[in-house]
């Protein structure tokens, strides 16, 4: 899984910010309940400044996770603390965001997001979600 994820990430990372913004935007449109976490933003519409910026922030986290893929629990310790004690995102939403990340990857890289890459990425994002919810309880 690690090699496949790293190889695919190397290919798509130049577009990381776009992917993040696209995924976040889709999540807010397709799963409106996720908007509850962003009530402090003035504009939740696709292409708005907060959505674009936050999409990039999320992808920096993903890039970090790829770099620490061999030890996500330790590697994502700080992010886990953030999500557990400050953000308190219901872990079910990690799955929702993961799905939308993969929709965007498939949409923008149809020839690269093969079934083999898909399964590796699905597994990787699930492990990231698990590491992020480590500190919840």
């Amino acid at each position: 899984m690690s090699d496949t994820v790293r190889a695919f990430w190397a290919k798509v990372s130049p577009k990381a910010a776009d992917i993040g913004a696209g995924a976040l935007c889709r999540m807010l449109v397709v799963y409106p309940q996720t908007k509850t976490y962003f009530s402090h933003w003035k504009d939740l519409n696709p292409g708005s400044a907060p959505v674009m910026m936050h999409g990039a922030v999320i992808m920096e986290g993903v890039a970090d996770a790829v770099a620490k893929i061999d030890n996500l629990t330790d590697g994502l310790d700080q992010l886990s603390q953030l999500h557990a004690f400050t953000l308190r995102v219901d872990p079910a939403n990690f799955k929702v965001l993961s799905h939308n990340l993969m929709v965007v990857m498939a949409n923008q890289f149809p020839n690269d997001f093969s079934p083999e890459v898909h399964v590796a990425m699905d597994k990787f994002l699930a492990l990231v979600a698990l590491a992020l919810s480590e500190k919840y309880r």
Binding site: V103, A106, H118, V119, D122
Partner: protein, 147 residues
């Protein structure tokens, strides 16, 4: 009963009228068996599923994927009555095929990703939302008769 706006009906009609069933159906089921390997439990009699290559080249899987995709045509033609339309198929999946209804969601997610790959810029967030709503209604109807 589920409410559909004119825009949603139009998005669904458009999506299906341009759909390459042979390509998308085969790809969706193939991908489901690779990404969620436990789903292979329902395909014991379909031949070689030994690895991703074998699954991709398996003609029985490809054909069955197309069949499943055509199963969505019923919902397309009866959008205001999806629950009743799928009652019979729900019984089939429960009583005869013994498919865990969680699998419907898995296939539905994979199908969304295959369509996303195929439609490019046409697969806008609105189209995605409508398509996922459509699939969710079908998935719910298919699970209704389980007891």
């Amino acid at each position: 009963m589920v409410a559909w706006s004119e825009q949603e009906r139009s998005i669904i009609a458009n999506l299906f009228s341009n759909l390459d069933y042979e390509d998308v159906g085969a790809k969706a089921l193939t991908r489901c068996l690779i990404v969620y390997p436990w789903t292979q439990r329902y395909f014991g009699g379909f031949g070689n599923l030994y690895n991703a290559e074998a699954i991709k080249m398996n003609p029985n899987i490809a054909a069955h994927g197309v069949k499943i995709l055509h199963g969505l045509d019923r919902a397309l033609k009866n959008m205001d009555n999806i629950k009743e339309t799928y009652a019979e198929l729900s019984v089939l999946h429960s009583e005869k095929l013994h498919v865990d209804p969680d699998n419907f969601k898995l296939l539905s997610d994979v199908l969304t990703i295959v369509i996303a790959a195929k439609l490019g810029t046409d697969f806008t967030p609105e189209v995605q939302a409508t398509f996922q709503k459509f699939l969710a209604v079908v998935v719910s109807a298919l699970g209704k008769q389980y007891q």
